[in-house]
Symmetry: C2
Subunit: 278 residues, 2 copies
């Protein structure tokens, strides 16, 4: 891990690190905020997965998570959304595929399988790297949340790793990526035409297939321009209801898809996770 | 005023507007956050002046002022730091002069005098524009603060307009721009070689010349790389002491010059102003 920056904030420290990634076969960058409590004890780890087009930086700049994380003593890790670099295959004209659009899956199709392994990166490689670091993190207490594509990532990773994550929440998650216009082509290019392979990366279909979490928190703006075609929280609500998963779905009147929305409810989400992280 | 964007945040609205400016002879852009209380009554106006290289957007993205402004019912106006556009004279290779570096003064020297009139813009033109708008603002209750060059701007404008601003504060202000390496050349180019003309734009010299405010709040990071050469809060402290102006100068251990520092103490400053705005 190479330290890119370290800035004191709210009595804690906002770090940015880069490192060579085996899962993504490129250098990866991530942000981690260490709250002041980490100076004297190990703190729980809250993973934040970002949405399409984002890097680690968007939520670090605009997410307004440091005040509440410092108050509650939670570390917040913000990974990038895809592999990066000149050698990574991409479709530069598309913001819904390739760089900035890794969809938190492990690609099986060429030429993407070599680099686009964000599930393995988030679940295996980055935790191992952080465990081996000097950062005072308690990996027995982890939770996960995210926004849009990152909300999809948080929910699918929590469903597949219920023993790992004490809680999961999302801002405006993509509820059913396998049938939404902006995500379906990406799943096909990363995973191939056999749609049975897509189910492992679709929150509603994972729930249909019996994957469970104890409960779920979702905030969704009613003025979100992606609400009806891309996000469709009603599909998640329906799947959760059938599966008996308690879902708190807050429809927030007048809020859009931006960080103005995310930051408005960030403190409530971090507080929700902290209560479950103990 | 042309509305560029409007995003709901913390139950209020973050607006961005542009307009043709007479003072700056160009189109200018500014941000204004209207708290939820403005839906039912006029709210006080807190001006935030940004530092070198910034536009209206940096503090809007990274300043973390909306939560506390919404809680306390204060509107926050964030103007740009200079005139903009192709026709505005500039020194593109310098970040300490020209665009992004208006220093909140009225230039007298050619070719800058036509556009670089940020004092007049902030004190006369933008308030008149906002007063004529539909925004529920109470111009009988105004305060001002800012960062670095904008801290210099806030303090000098408050000293020269004590009847206008109920309170003034600053994050890492340039205390004595007329003798600091990064600001002295700008004052000379905007105002000419006669240094007596610079005194009206220098906080410490204005105080020496008898300008007063009731009190002042300043936060300054001890790890700020500009502390010793560019900022020098001890000069402000000395001037305030001699003039009998109560200055609360908080030296914040380990904090730098960035928005990580500003955002950490934003709530305290907004709270301080709100208490004085009534």
């Amino acid at each position: 891990m190479k330290q890119i920056s370290a800035n004191k904030a709210f009595d804690g420290t906002q770090y940015v690190y880069s490192h060579a990634s085996e899962a993504c076969q490129c250098d990866m960058t991530f942000a981690i905020f260490m709250p002041p409590q980490a100076q004297t004890r190990k703190v729980p780890v809250l993973w934040y997965l970002s949405g399409l087009t984002c890097t680690h930086q968007n939520v670090m700049d605009k997410g307004e998570y440091r005040q509440i994380a410092a108050e509650l003593g939670v570390a917040i890790v913000c990974p990038d959304t895809s592999p990066r670099g000149e050698t990574v295959p991409d479709e530069p004209e598309s913001w819904q595929f390739g760089k900035g659009a890794g969809f938190y899956l492990d690609a099986t199709q060429e030429p993407f399988a070599r680099n686009y392994n964000m599930q393995r990166y988030i679940i295996d490689e980055l935790p191992a790297l952080l465990k081996a670091s000097d950062l005072a993190l308690d990996f027995d207490r982890q939770s996960i949340f995210g926004h849009s594509m990152g909300g999809h990532g948080a929910i699918t990773l929590a469903l597949k790793n219920p023993e790992r994550f004490a809680s999961v929440s999302a801002f405006a998650p993509i509820a059913q990526p396998s049938t939404a216009d902006w995500s379906r082509p990406a799943l096909e290019k990363y995973l191939g035409p056999d749609q049975s392979a897509w189910r492992a990366y679709d929150a509603t279909l994972l729930i249909e297939d019996g994957f469970k979490v104890k409960e779920m928190l979702v905030d969704q703006g009613t003025a979100d321009s992606f609400l009806e075609t891309g996000l469709r929280p009603q599909l998640l609500a329906s799947a959760c209801e059938k599966a008996g998963i308690p879902l708190t779905l807050n429809m927030r009147k007048g809020y859009d898809h931006s960080y103005f929305f995310i930051s408005s409810f960030m403190a409530a989400h971090v507080r929700w996770h902290a209560a479950r992280l103990g």
